[in-house]
């Protein structure tokens, strides 16, 4: 698996898209810091971008890589390697190279602007951590889609759809149900609903660190009580891990029966 990982990273690190992605984050970081020089504010703006963009890029990139390297994958499949190792290697390759673009792209400008001397370092680290998680989660989802869909166009369609669902539609349904069941206590429901969507979970984790919980009133207190404790933080990262592990398990299941 490490061999496959090595070569897919090798391949991806030379791909134009990795650079475009890297340069995008680099430019974004510099522009944000240049515009207001306030690291805290830059972190908030970055959050808005990261929780929407990393899932989108992750899914698109994952699906694209799968379909583009289909024939090469077939070549690998004829080599004496276990199937799951090939795909895990590729999966890790994409996720890591995307994460590398994110970490370096944002890390460099923030370091140059004195991140280590700033109090924003924890928020920034959390942001990067959550962004990386989102990369791993959405590439895994993309691989699930691609493995289940032979048709490339359909695959792309589903990928966009799953992103759209988790980034937008889910929140819409969430809001509508909150408004409909106005009379009932909704904090537990909100908590659970947040857990079921990695984008929402990431957003809440960062928002609470930026201490917006005060705005949330009672629900905020419930959230803060939950996420603020070590147990809550542990649990939410566990959920994020599950969001990586469950799709990966499905990939493994799928691979057992998949014909190439």
């Amino acid at each position: 698996m490490l061999k496959i990982l090595k070569y897919s990273i090798y391949d991806l690190l030379r791909s134009r898209w990795s650079y475009v992605y890297f340069i995008f984050y680099l430019a974004l970081g510099f522009v944000l810091l240049f515009l207001n020089n306030d690291m805290n504010k830059a972190v908030i703006t970055l959050m808005n971008i990261i929780i929407v963009l990393t899932p989108l890029i992750g899914t698109i990139f994952g699906v694209m890589y799968y379909y583009n390297s289909k024939e090469f994958t077939e070549l690998l499949l004829a080599q004496p390697i276990k199937r799951s190792k090939i795909f895990m290697g590729q999966y890790l390759g994409i996720s890591l190279s995307l994460t590398l673009s994110l970490v370096l792209g944002l890390g460099i400008p923030f370091l140059l602007y004195g991140l280590f001397r700033s109090a924003a370092i924890f928020d920034f680290s959390l942001l990067i951590l959550v962004g990386s998680f989102l990369n791993f989660i959405f590439v895994a989802l993309a691989y699930n889609i691609a493995l289940s869909t032979e048709n490339k166009i359909k695959g792309f369609g589903y990928a966009i759809l799953i992103w759209l669902f988790l980034a937008v539609i889910y929140d819409g349904l969430f809001m509508i149900s909150l408004m409909t069941f106005n009379e009932y206590p909704l904090d537990k429901f909100s908590l659970v609903a947040t857990m079921f969507n990695p984008i929402d979970l990431s957003r809440i984790l960062i928002l609470l660190k930026l201490d917006i919980s005060a705005l949330l009133g009672y629900t905020g207190a419930v959230f803060k009580d939950f996420f603020g404790t070590t147990k809550g933080a542990f649990l939410s990262f566990l959920v994020l891990c599950l969001w990586v592990i469950l799709p990966l398990l499905r990939i493994k299941m799928k691979l057992r029966k998949k014909d190439f």
Binding site: K3, I4, Y7, S8, Y10, D11, L12, R14, S15, S69, K70, E71, F72, E74, L75, L76, L77, A78, Q79, P80, I81, K82, R83, R256, K257, K258, D259, F260
Partner: protein, 239 residues
Amino acid sequence: MIEIKNLHKKFGKLIVLDGLDLTINPEGSEGGIFAILGPNGSGKTTLIKCLLGMVIPNKGEISIDGTSVLKKWEYRNNLNYLPQIANFPPNLTVIELLKMVKNLRPKASNEQELIDLFSLYPFLKKKLGNLSGGTKQKVNLVLTFMFDSELIILDEPTTGLDPIALIHLKELIQQEKAKGKTILITTHIMSFVDEMADEIVFLLDGKIYFKGSVAQLKEQTNQSNLEHAIANLMTKQHA
């Protein structure tokens, strides 16, 4: 020795292999060149992919040298495969790809000879994405023939090759055969079959419809030309 028993494969509702039985090189016999032929959609590629473990059969058994290979992967170390479409990671160079595949199969290889043979030196440092189809196919051939394995599977090996390369390919196949290897080839080029194949395996509707030497086939169909003989096989079926 390859032994395939009662192999079934469906893709959705489409039955591709329907209780296929095939034995290649029964115990004791020397290697040889086997051409797997059949009309489009007859299950050639599926059969090969089953053998490679890329397609998982619904039912049946495949064994090589007496051991089952289904759901295993180690046996592929003794198997070389030339895929139909030579599509490689575009950002790797030829030499990196060779290194990588060597890395994946820790066994002796003679890529240097093959690179000489196909005059690939000028391309070694080029990215695979920038190579022409023919050159890619040559790289593909190098990857296939550089290892010393008992079983060699070639899926449309002649695609995109110039005449010189084609001659080299034929030489290579003969050399391997001389070493006692078993070589499975699918192709649509009948002259190639006529020239190379020791035996023909003809697939139709997911079953082996004919298995025997070229001479036997010609005899059975009363045709002196292989192309016609094959055509005859197909029309007979349809008649």
